[in-house]
Symmetry: C2
């Protein structure tokens, strides 16, 4: 079989070293089967060209089997509102990667910030619309009368497909689904979301659905994370809950994600949840585990479940020995080599 | 001096017993100086009258020195989107209670969920506009083509006044201010907020300002809460962060709040952060400490700082002895009596 064609966008800051680490591990797990092409799209690229990616960037990526992305953004070089809307967010939308999947559990050997451990949460975040629609504007800009509006747009198609995806995941796991809204305060978008959830619940009588407001479930993730299993949320709420999920896992260095196009009509994209962390970018201490885990999710998506499992096992062999478990304690390279060695 | 005139809205569920507890403690701390009038506005009131409060409810409340509210909402009786937009949210807006102040620290004797304790955060939440503007609509309702939109509206006046309030609070405390946005994804509203923050920062050169995205600061509240002091956020982001703040304090039973009209052109309102908790409403185990703390904030606002401090001291004398520190372990009444006894 021909190798998988992977588009690689390391991006900015620590995106670069963690991508290198993740690809080295993936290559070791699946020798000769990954054909990578690297694109230098980033804030530096913007400073040189005035764009985060070329005009035909999306078309260039379309031909690949998957996209691997490190991290995008370096606010001292390019405003985040420009860099993210120029690269990460358009890819998610153009390729209809509507399901952003983020697993949260504490790896062997890691001591999380919570006194109580023991949870296994799968966050399913809507990834193409809602609060990230990019609709809005500003009037009387720069004056005392300025008004800025930002419109969240939720479509039936968009809400239904992500909830359906959530129900299907719940079926494969504990048959419990938590749906997240803020319908007590946002009476159009979130009441709509609740209604679609209730409608679909009738189609999935075997799945027990709980409705949470975003504030309540955020507190619950800290107080009683073991009570949650599959959590499905809008773009913004999923963003917040998955950083929280990362925190209770022990930190952003552990949180992986997959931006999935479930119909496979375009490539899916895999990236760690963390950002580019410019402040530590040159210290060589970025934790590559989130990136490596994301690469495992990529292999699984490509149909290489066995290789994906081997990566996860190797990762936990390393962390069980205390490697990569405490921020800054091990070099990026040391952690990567430990995972590679455990793959032997 | 004439007694203070307090409008009391116990509301729904545990709102009723915790309000009773808070007023009993306040009366003990300031004997004969609180004149209360109780309004039965609630979901039950809605079932009887078709309204959460009478048409002239706002005008009725306007004459009082302060409003004390327990909790509103009972989704099995009235949809939250109706009950909250019919009572709590209109009061905050009509009386320009634009600063929602929520202190987060761990009371003596309480064991929070985090391994590391030791933080003292003051959240300042915008309380009148933004994501709670109530602007939006639904088209093609109930069909496969439905679209729901929800528009967040941020005005210069609204953003500037809450940030200014935050800067002033920071001056009184550690001179550190964290401003919360999601300007990497929401490029109108949140970029605007960032701009106003930067403009005001020039007026407050003695205050060190940090900018956080909501996802990052949510994680930080769990990973390193001791690094935060005054946090200023939009209506929705403040809502989420203050439930998280409650969680790291040990639970919703400890989180107090004040909805302040800083110009004193209308009454301010005091309420615990927690909801009405219908599931435990009849068990007699609601923790009244958040409500009592909110009453202390009310007395402070009325100019009775000494009585407020005495309540806080009495509360911590009770919790230091383990009373009210573990959810469900003590009856509401037992906790209340312990605080009252400590006031002697
Ligand atoms: C960088 C930012 C735009 C992005 C998001 O909010 O989606 C990130 O926080 C994430 O979670 O992937
Ligand atoms: C009940 C709800 C509308 C309210 C809010 O979101 O403001 C509550 O969560 C709060 O924090 O006071």
């Amino acid at each position: 079989m021909a190798p998988y064609r992977i588009a690689v966008i390391p991006g900015d800051g620590i995106g670069i070293p963690v991508t290198e680490a993740a690809l080295a591990v993936a290559a070791k797990a699946l020798p000769g089967k990954l054909d990578t092409v690297t694109f230098p799209w980033s804030c530096d690229y913007y400073l040189q060209t005035g764009r985060m990616m070329p005009e035909d960037g999306i078309e260039t990526l379309r031909g690949f089997d998957a996209i691997y992305l490190g991290a995008v953004g370096w606010p001292q070089k390019v405003p985040d509102s420009v860099s993210l809307h120029g690269l990460l967010l358009p890819i998610r939308k153009a390729f209809v990667q509507y399901a952003n999947i983020r697993p949260h559990r504490v790896l062997a050997g890691v001591e999380g910030p919570l006194r109580k451990g023991g949870f296994d949460i799968l966050c399913i975040r809507e990834n193409t619309e809602g609060e990230y629609s990019g609709a809005g504007g500003r009037v009387h800009q720069g004056t005392k009368d300025e008004v800025a509006v930002e419109t969240a747009i939720f479509t039936r198609a968009g809400v239904e497909r992500i909830l359906r995806f959530g129900f299907e995941q719940a079926r494969k796991r504990s048959k419990r689904l938590a749906s997240v809204t803020k319908s007590n305060a946002q009476k159009y978008s979130m009441v709509f979301w609740d209604e679609v959830t209730k409608e679909l619940a009738a189609e999935y009588p075997d799945v027990a659905v709980s409705h949470y407001h975003i504030d309540a479930i955020a507190a619950r993730m800290v107080m009683a994370p073991e009570s949650l299993d599959v959590v499905v949320a809008s773009n913004l709420f999923g963003d917040i809950l998955t950083d929280l999920g990362a925190a209770i896992q022990g930190g952003l260095g552990f949180a992986a994600s997959a931006n999935i196009n479930p119909d496979r009509s375009a490539p899916s994209m895999f990236e760690p949840v963390h950002g580019s962390a410019p402040d530590i970018a040159h210290l060589g201490i970025a934790n590559p585990l989130a990136a490596i885990w994301s690469a495992a999710m990529m292999l699984e998506h490509l149909g290489e479940a066995e290789a994906a499992t081997r990566i996860m096992t190797a990762m936990e062999q390393a962390t069980a020995r205390g490697i990569g478990t405490v921020p800054g304690q091990n070099k990026t390279d040391e952690i990567t080599q430990a995972v590679i060695a455990a793959l032997d």
